[in-house]
């Protein structure tokens, strides 16, 4: 009797030990998986931080290298000075012409580009047959993929002489040429975002409107578009961002003389081209001032991004 009991105990003990080893083994395995997980997490975090690090680095670098020139020139003289003559014996560093040109140029591009882009988006999203839609969307994507130097080249060889002949002006490189090139360049972003926004409008809204007797066109403009307005606004802001940041194409068609943008046919210089056209040969205060221009441009683009986020957030809600 006693021996049986004992052997049972022994058996239990053996079982316990087995379980324990099994448990420990599992634990070890789990620990190893956990460590592996942690390492992978770490790597992903590191890669993510590279992006954040780049943004921080650029911001800090721009601020540090942009501030000294503004201090030396004086912020009012810098931002509101009408004269830019960086290499003159008596250098002038006023960037008001560049700021106004960038604003006018972008506004002009929006005035031309948004109606075209918006109407195209409404057509693509609501009216076009699937075949036409897919063909046109491919074309739009292709337009987005064309490098900006190609826009500039075509602008330089076709648009600039064209403007000279059509408007009978001495030279076609002007604010108008830049506006037209920018308007074409922002079309893809406007169309793509607007189409996405319009596609996301619930079909019930449109069905209800049609059932109430509204015509399709009335439905699109009075129901679909208002329902997608945040997305469309975001598309416009994205277009603004693209237009204000473009340098290469604009440099090739705008003439690059730091004039105040008094007329559409004036040769003008944008904030972006002010930096890129003089950077390669610059030195001393001139170079520092170019960094300051970059800082101003950076602030503009930050502002645009904040606006964009505001619209996108509202669309989500």
């Amino acid at each position: 009797m006693k021996t049986r009991k004992n052997s049972k105990k022994v058996n239990h003990a053996i079982q316990d030990i087995k379980w324990e080893t099994e448990y420990k083994h599992q634990q070890k395995k789990r620990n190893r998986t956990q460590t592996m997980e942690n390492i992978i997490h770490g790597i992903f975090l590191l890669l993510g931080l590279i992006t954040v690090g780049c943004v921080l680095l650029i911001t800090v670098y721009l601020v540090i290298s942009g501030i000294p020139a503004i201090k030396e020139i004086g912020i009012a003289d810098f931002l509101f000075g009408k004269e830019w003559a960086s290499t003159a014996a008596q250098p002038e560093y006023g960037i008001l012409p560049f700021i106004l040109t960038s604003i006018y140029g972008t506004a002009g591009a929006i005035v031309i580009g948004v109606p075209i882009g918006f109407m195209t988006a409404v057509y693509l999203s609501k009216m076009a047959s699937p075949k036409v839609k897919s063909a046109m969307q491919t074309a739009v994507s292709l337009l987005a993929g064309i490098p900006s130097v190609v826009y500039g080249l075509v602008g330089m060889l076709v648009l600039v002489p064209g403007i000279r002949k059509i408007f009978n002006v001495p030279d076609g490189a002007s604010l108008l040429a830049a506006i037209i090139v920018l308007a074409i360049m922002i079309l893809p972003s406007i169309i793509k975002m607007s189409v996405t926004a319009l596609d996301a409008v619930p079909k019930e809204y449109e069905d209800a409107s049609l059932a109430l007797g509204a015509t399709p066109v009335e439905t699109y403009f009075k129901v679909s578009v208002p329902a997608a307005k945040s997305g469309i606004a975001a598309a416009v802001v994205l277009g603004v961002g693209r237009a204000i940041g473009e340098a290469m194409a604009v440099m090739m068609v705008a003439g690059n003389v730091p004039n105040m943008p008094d007329s559409l046919f004036q040769s003008v210089r944008f904030l972006t081209t002010a930096v890129s056209s003089e950077m390669s040969y610059s030195s001393g205060l001139q170079r520092q001032a170019l960094f300051s221009i970059a800082l101003v441009l950076f602030l503009f683009i930050m502002l645009i991004n904040v606006t964009l986020n505001f619209f996108l957030k509202r669309e989500k809600e």
Binding site: N256, R269, S280, Y281, Q286
Partner: protein, 267 residues
Amino acid sequence: MKKLITIVLATVMAMSVFTGCSSEVAGAVSTDGSTSMEKVIGALGEAFQNDTGITFTYNPTGSGSGIKAVQEGRCDIGLSSRDLKAEEKDAGLTGTILAYDGIAIIVNPENPVADLSVETIAKIYKGEITNWAEVGGNDAEIVLIGREAGSGTRDGFESITDTEDACKYRQELTSTGDVITTVAQNPGAIGYASVASVKDTVKAVTVDGVAATEANIKDGSYVVQRPFVLVTKADTPLTESAQNFFDYITSADANEIISAAGVVPAN
């Protein structure tokens, strides 16, 4: 693994910072500067590399950057397409003229004007003469095409014609090629570019009756010309290979290569 790759990449990138201008490495010579000198220095460098086996590098950054690079010891020889300024000489730099580059005054081939004096060119660029009819051409507005501030060609042109800071440009373009393309397209345009890079698409006018030919530039009768300068530090001796290169390109043997590049040798 990714960490390792990241580290390796970072190291490679960090190393590449030092390889750009390796003045310490034996058997290499680095130059940095004027984009206008690309053709001539490239030809010289290639010939030198073939003859001696010493690696030659050229970084086309512009005269200002090249002068700064040699000052900061980032390269052996700086290349400048203008004379050194007094402040640059004070900073311990010396310039040796390698060659002379003529700046051609170019107009559209349709333009009947074939000769301009330096004074007329200056007046045109200052905006005192605005119509081609005033200088014997068609009744058309003169469109002034120039280079961006800081460009060696612009600096050379403006200092020769004495129009510094006074030019009323209609377009400021960032490369010689752009200037030529623009002048070729606009019948009313006038521009300036290195003689070596002028093509058939534009017409080079004679200045005071003298054409921009090599002989005229060499004997100084064609006045719109500028020096190509080799910039070195006065107090620091060049490395052996850099000194070899310097002697090679300033010797009479190099003249043939310099002429072939479209500029006029100084020695």
